[in-house]
Amino acid sequence: MRKVYIYKRFERFWHWVQASLIIFLALTGFEVHGAYTIFGFQKAAEFHRTASWMLIGLIIFAIFWHLTTGEWRQYIPTTKQLKEQVIYYISGIFKGGHHPTEKTGLSKLNPLQRIVYLGFKLVLVPITIISGILYLLYKTFDQNNLIVIEDYPLASIAFWHTLGAIMLMIFLVVHVYMTTTGKTPTSNIKAMITGYEDLDEEQPVELSQIEKNPSKP
């Protein structure tokens, strides 16, 4: 066992600010959607707008960080051991088995995480943000100027934005739960707060071995 510095300072800052912004945007967004009343429509809409600009700003910084540090390579998808990872979550985890993949500073995401997070970054967030920007700028150009957004019906912009929001909420639930599947239930969250995580040095145990002898670590 050794302590490894796995999440950099900006990465942690980005993660937690993005998490709180997304939760706050969901809270205000579903109020604008008419699902409930907390702040009142006017305040909810105002807060939603402000928070959305903050999130867009943060994501621009995050993209810059990923590109300049080369961290984007962490998200290159792979099918190697993907199946094993899925099987682990379906059965291995119940038998006290080990993660089939090794977590290191250079490769901190397992194949399933790679695919899910890449989808999050390239599909889910863009759908929500692009539809959100269209929503935000709807009617910016009135009849005396060029009309860009007006001809696209607000109902479908709202559809995509709501769809993105619902998927993000589902992601949130599953994501928060999955953080408890580390070495101990809180080790992953601690790592995202402090940056350090205790990682194994040994090779990952093959799944076949786990099944034969579940009690052996």
């Binding site: 604008v32 006017q42 809409a45 109902a155 009690s215």
Partner: protein, 533 residues
């Protein structure tokens, strides 16, 4: 000591920050301040008419006054006689009709129905003298009534059913010496009392506005800017800016809020952007008829009931007529929330002679739709009722209502519909089958006045709400907060719940298996330790 001062400064700055944070909406709006300053300065007239020798004389007839006016303003009658105030019609291109003349001369309404054959009474609100029938000479400048608009003595008064002549009590000399720019009381003498009483027709124009608070009308309130009607309804060459779509058709020469307030009056960009689809009035006139009641319904079918062979009237608790034998029964209302419609500035009227296309008969149709780029949501008063029509020709008919004597076939004297309609239609040059009935009607009155101070504007959530919002009846477009994709919300909610259930299920299995495994491991250990020594 120093520490205390520092503490005070810190507390002061903190409280200032908090204060500013909670008072964001009261940010200083320079545009409004400039406007206030502009309209605070009341113009001084360049001429005092009381000093003019041409007016220092006796006037036998009101026409003499007009001649005295024209002795200096030698060409002004031409301007006046080109106006709709004089002609009671405007020539315009109307969709479906072509170039046509539309105005009080030929449109019908669901109040006193129409002017034809009733001119002598209706002409109380015509800027002329001697209109007794449709044969009135619109070319005679001597009959232009300058005083009704320009009297500043508050003494001028048109007589009841006197074909537009002033009441016999009016001192023409005083009036002539007082003339000046029109005041609220001049415009109001007709526009407040149209339909036969105060606030009957408009709902947003009434005599209380001669002296009201800012809460009633932020522009005209006497504790506010105290503006005159003509401050906004300016006139070039006696052509008034502004029109009402009970008698108007085209999208020209309108008086708008934007002419002073610009299209970006708010500090908030989001609210400014609403302006492309929502009129200013929709939010800034939360209710109309704020002081006195306005008529919401008029049922002509009930007219003509007599007590002991004599016509009678019944009032409600507020002193409004509930029933009149000559007119039928009414519904009144106060502090009314407007209805809302899409409107692009063009309209069509029911013109005498038109065939009824649908029931309720639309006395006027405001054109517009959510997918029309020129259309905006405007507040309207919808006046409903029923009125007499020709069962055979399927037309609304024009009864002769006003008459001087019994036996004149006027309904208000004889209470005989058949004779009244026959006389009225004959005067209008139209045929009548002799079979009448009553048909439901609707009329749309755009609400433009009684603007509330900004604090009283309609709040966001009054429209952006799931149920019973102000715009609940306007459908076909997506309104955030009101509309949602039901399918998406349903599927989305269940997917979210399923995810929660899946996660909780997974967690419980893990916990259960973990406990079971720990027990198993402990048993092994215990077995080792419990070996007999």
């Amino acid at each position: 000591m120093v520490r205390n001062i520092l503490l005070v400064i810190v507390v002061f700055i903190l409280s200032l920050t908090v204060f500013i944070f909670f008072n964001q909406e009261d940010n200083y709006n320079l545009k409004l301040e400039v406007l206030r300053h502009k309209y605070a300065l009341k113009p001084i007239p360049s001429v005092k008419h009381s000093k003019l020798s041409a007016l220092q004389r006796d006037f036998k007839t009101p026409q003499d006054v007009t001649e005295a006016c024209l002795s200096c303003h030698t060409e002004t009658h031409k301007e006046v006689m080109a106006s709709s105030h004089w002609n009671w019609e405007r020539v315009a291109y109307v969709e479906g009709r072509g170039i046509s003349s539309v105005g009080k001369k030929n449109v019908m309404n669901n109040f006193c129905l129409g002017t034809n054959s009733n001119q002598k009474s209706c002409a109380k609100c015509h800027i002329g003298y001697g209109m007794t029938s449709s044969d009135f000479d619109f070319k005679n400048a001597r009959n232009v009534d300058c005083m009704v608009c320009h009297d500043n003595s508050d003494e001028y008064l048109k007589g009841a059913s006197m074909a537009g002549y002033p009441d016999r009590t009016v001192n023409l000399e005083n009036v002539a010496l007082s003339v000046g720019s029109p005041r609220k009381s001049n415009c109001g003498s007709c526009h407040f009392f149209s339909g036969g009483g105060n606030n009957v027709k408009h709902g947003d124009l009434e005599s209380a506005m001669l002296s009201c608070s800012r809460e009633v009308d932020v522009h005209m309130g006497s504790n506010g800017m105290n503006m005159e009607c003509v401050a906004c309804h300016t006139a070039q060459n006696h052509q008034m800016l502004g029109k009402l779509y009970s008698v108007s058709t085209d999208n020209t020469n309108r008086s708008t809020c934007e002419q002073c307030h610009t299209s970006t009056p708010h500090l908030s960009d989001v609210i400014n952007r609403h302006g492309s689809k929502v009129s200013c009035q929709a939010c800034h006139i939360p209710v109309y008829a704020k002081v006195n009641s306005t008529k919401m319904a008029w049922r002509w079918s009930e007219a003509g009931k007599l007590k002991d062979g004599k016509p009678f009237e019944e009032d409600d608790s507020l002193g409004n007529h509930k029933y009149m034998s000559i007119k039928g029964s009414f519904t009144w209302a106060r502090n009314v929330k407007p209805d809302y419609v899409w409107f692009n500035g063009t309209a069509d009227q029911y013109i005498l002679g038109d065939t009824i296309k649908s029931v309720p008969v639309q006395m006027n149709t405001l054109h517009g739709s959510h997918n029309d780029r020129q259309s905006r949501i405007i507040p309207v008063k919808i006046h409903v009722g029923d009125q007499i029509y020709d069962k055979v020709y399927h037309q609304l008919v024009q009864p002769k209502l006003y008459g001087e004597n019994e036996g004149d076939s006027a309904f208000w004297k004889d209470f005989n519909w058949n004779e009244a309609v026959a006389a009225g239609m004959k005067k209008s040059g139209l045929s009548y089958s002799g079979k009448y009935g009553f048909v439901k009607t609707e009329m749309y009155w755009p609400v433009n006045h009684m603007v509330s101070p900004k604090g009283g504007a309609v709040g966001c959530a009054e429209c952006h709400t799931r149920n019973n919002g102000r715009l609940a009846k306007l459908t076909g477009f997506y309104l955030p907060g009101r509309d949602h994709n039901q399918m998406l919300d349903f599927v989305g909610l269940w997917m979210f719940i399923l995810a929660l259930v899946a996660v909780l299920g997974h967690a419980s299995i893990r916990i259960f298996m973990n406990i079971a495994r720990n027990k198993f491991e402990k048993q092994i250990i215990n077995y080792d330790e419990d070996k007999p020594v």
